[in-house]
Symmetry: C2
């Protein structure tokens, strides 16, 4: 008889509990894929007494997750504790050091310590697998690591945070404000009490850092990522996007440019007809542009206990069967320290919403500053409110009105410089809203 592959699970939240239940119900399929039976032997969590809906007595209980990581009973530690440092980091490092495989869903850990942990895994000849760390149940890690060796990836972009996509979807469909939708997201459990990590783009940035490394064969470089969240998006921006044929999504984008690898997280205008624009609610999606395969899009659940556990279980089966390969799809020594492309050099289309004083010459003044910075405009939309239009014979109220510009490809630096001048000219009443456009 083949010796079973013995798994220890550190962290029994919704994902951990679901991993146990899935391994029970899919035992045969997992064994077929892994080439041997998979057996959970030990578990560790904060609260032993908590009702998880199933019996824990058949597993060895560890009060200390580090003891589980050190246990000789365990071939593979599944780390579901979370956090870039502290216990999670120690558990993973300990397990790898002792020659145990590790499966984790911990994006923060990977984004911060990925290269060091991959080196350790390599040195010890064990696997470090992390499909569940990005985009929940979508097999995007496997796709980037295994399905595209024949491709040179030029760009990837994704909706990697369900909270943000839920908020933007509801703002768009119901004309609500960011604050209203955030409150609902919190009520439904889609957002944390402190939502900063999600809505300000940091969660997306961690995930993007991991995908970038896999896609470009580069060392993880989370600090290089330009990050902007969605809290500044106004219902008016969504209405304008609709009118202009776009939707607004919080994207993580990684792109190979002439200066290096550009990594950025920001609200983005995407064409309404693109695959990624169709992705609404808490769903995640990733599009990969590559030379041979052209465009590949994967859409699925980005979170949730079962979907994340599905990814964990796939990793366990791969590791049990010796099929996980190197952590980032190549030896750590082969990962390049790719030059960072600075955000100021980013080139693309821009949506710019100015709140201008409603008086003669303002549009001309704005257009002149744009022209001076060598920025070509694809369209200009001025919206005058109906109330304002009744105030004087020219329809001017003197009150600030929105002026929306769509530019052709321009650099971030030139856009920023033009907007500074427009601001100094006294043409605008509020800081400008700037949303980058990403085309297919």
């Amino acid at each position: 008889m083949i010796r079973p592959f013995r798994v220890g699970i550190a962290g029994l939240g919704t994902v951990g509990a679901s991993v146990i239940q899935i391994l029970d119900r899919q035992n045969r399929t997992v064994a077929q894929r892994g080439g041997r039976p998979v057996q959970v032997v030990g578990v560790s969590a904060r609260d032993r007494a908590k009702d998880r809906g199933f019996d824990l007595s058949r597993f060895t209980w560890f009060d200390d997750p580090l003891a589980l990581a050190r246990s000789e009973e365990v071939d593979c530690v599944v780390e579901l504790i979370g956090g870039a440092d502290g216990t999670a980091h120690e558990v993973v490092r300990t397990a790898l050091s002792l020659g145990k495989h590790v499966v984790t869903a911990n994006k923060a850990l990977l984004a911060k310590h990925g290269s060091a942990l991959a080196s350790l895994a390599e040195e010890k000849g064990v696997s470090l697998a992390f499909e569940a760390s990005v985009a929940g149940g979508i097999p995007v890690i496997k796709t980037l690591r295994e399905a595209l060796p024949g491709n040179r990836v030029s760009r990837l972009y994704g909706i990697l945070n369900g909270t943000c996509n839920y908020i933007l979807s509801r703002m768009e469909l119901e004309g609500l404000t960011f604050a209203e939708c955030l409150k609902d997201a919190q009520r439904l459990g889609y957002a944390e009490a402190d939502p900063t990590f999600d809505v300000e783009g940091f969660d997306t940035a961690h995930k993007l850092a991991i995908l970038t490394s896999l896609a470009f064969g580069s060392k993880i470089d989370a600090e290089a990522i330009y990050v902007e969240g969605i809290s500044s998006i106004a219902p008016l921006d969504l209405a304008m996007a609709h009118e202009l044929g776009f939707r607004i999504k919080l994207l993580g984008v990684a792109e190979r440019t002439e200066t290096g690898i550009e990594q950025r997280v920001h609200p983005t205008m995407v064409p309404k007809t693109s695959s990624i624009a169709q992705v609404m609610g808490v769903t995640n999606a990733v599009t990969i542009d590559a030379d041979a395969v052209k465009e590949l899009t994967l859409i699925g659940p980005g979170a949730g206990g079962d979907a994340t556990a599905s990814a964990v279980v796939a990793d366990i089966a791969d590791v049990a069967g010796g099929k996980a390969g190197t952590t980032f799809g190549r030896p750590v020594a082969d990962l390049e320290a790719a030059p960072r492309a600075p955000m100021q050099r980013h080139e693309g289309g821009y949506y710019i919403r100015l709140t201008v004083h409603d008086r003669p010459g303002v549009a001309a003044g704005v257009a002149t500053r744009m022209a001076e910075a060598d920025i070509s405009l694809e369209s200009i939309l001025q919206k005058r409110s109906e109330m304002a239009a009744t105030k004087d014979p020219h329809g001017r109220s003197g009150a600030p009105v929105p002026l929306v510009l769509i530019t052709y490809a321009a650099t971030e630096a030139s856009i920023r410089s033009a907007l500074d001048k427009i601001s100094r000219d006294g043409l605008i009443a509020e800081p400008p809203q700037v949303i980058r456009i990403e085309r297919e």
Copy 2:
């Protein structure tokens, strides 16, 4: 030094040529993934003199692909000849019998001989990989085989034939007839001179047979598939679909039902808001419904030399690294001979377009027959042409007019029985158009 993994390529059409070029340019990445260098050592094709844009002199030339399959120089045979039987089958069988790995893009071969070849591969301890056989560059084989062991799949459906999707997309967007779009597809090289295989759904059926086996762990059973093509689709159906909030796609659908596994290929009404409805032109897509991951959709190029070669190269790297696993994700002995769910037992919504005689009582007669068969109607649309409406005070011309019914879930048998009666009642002037509805 590690011995290179020696590949022989049988068939040098656009895919074969692209495999050689990709292995040249991505050599390092493929070696990193495969754990050793990959080297094309031999090639075989019909015409040695043909200009393929690169030099063949560095490879051993085989006039006879069987000689290549037998060559001791070769560790892995890449079969790109095509066809369910004849040379392709012999090449694959010979290579496997001699303990060589096989990578193939041949869906017809797999659909017909998949189980037997998988047994042979298993017996000889070698891999048989076929990512390129379904949906070109989309890693759907890998996803079903490796990413979902924690899932019980309930349904999968896909746009698996680019020719059909191109034709339906153009019919919809430009209001053209099937014949007009087919001609364009042929001119652009998207359709063969004899398009039967594509437009009548047989190509989709081969691919569906393969996906079904992977998704449900069942033996390939291509003969169980109900197949209907797109040649009967009229511009009026697309216009009605639009009005009713649907798009028409040729789908391959495999579903676990109470009676067994249902496999069917037919034009299908899908909700306009679904991910799969967004897929236009020659692009392919597959959606997988499963218990843990809920819904997963993969979208990408279904054909083309480079996209298909991308899948072939990924297989080569997996096989070189010993990571391909068993052919269908489990030992052949574990594949179930799942009961076939007969089409008559299919249950779902239906779009029915009748061409009825325009006289009193016809709509009532139709509705009565539907009610007798226990079919509930979600909507009824009667379109009377403007010309007809001028003929008499009641707007009736006596000439046949379309009457469209959308049903709630009903069985194929009850629909067929009701339509037979309606036909025998003399209510319709033409055979009915029936299009099944597939909801998310």
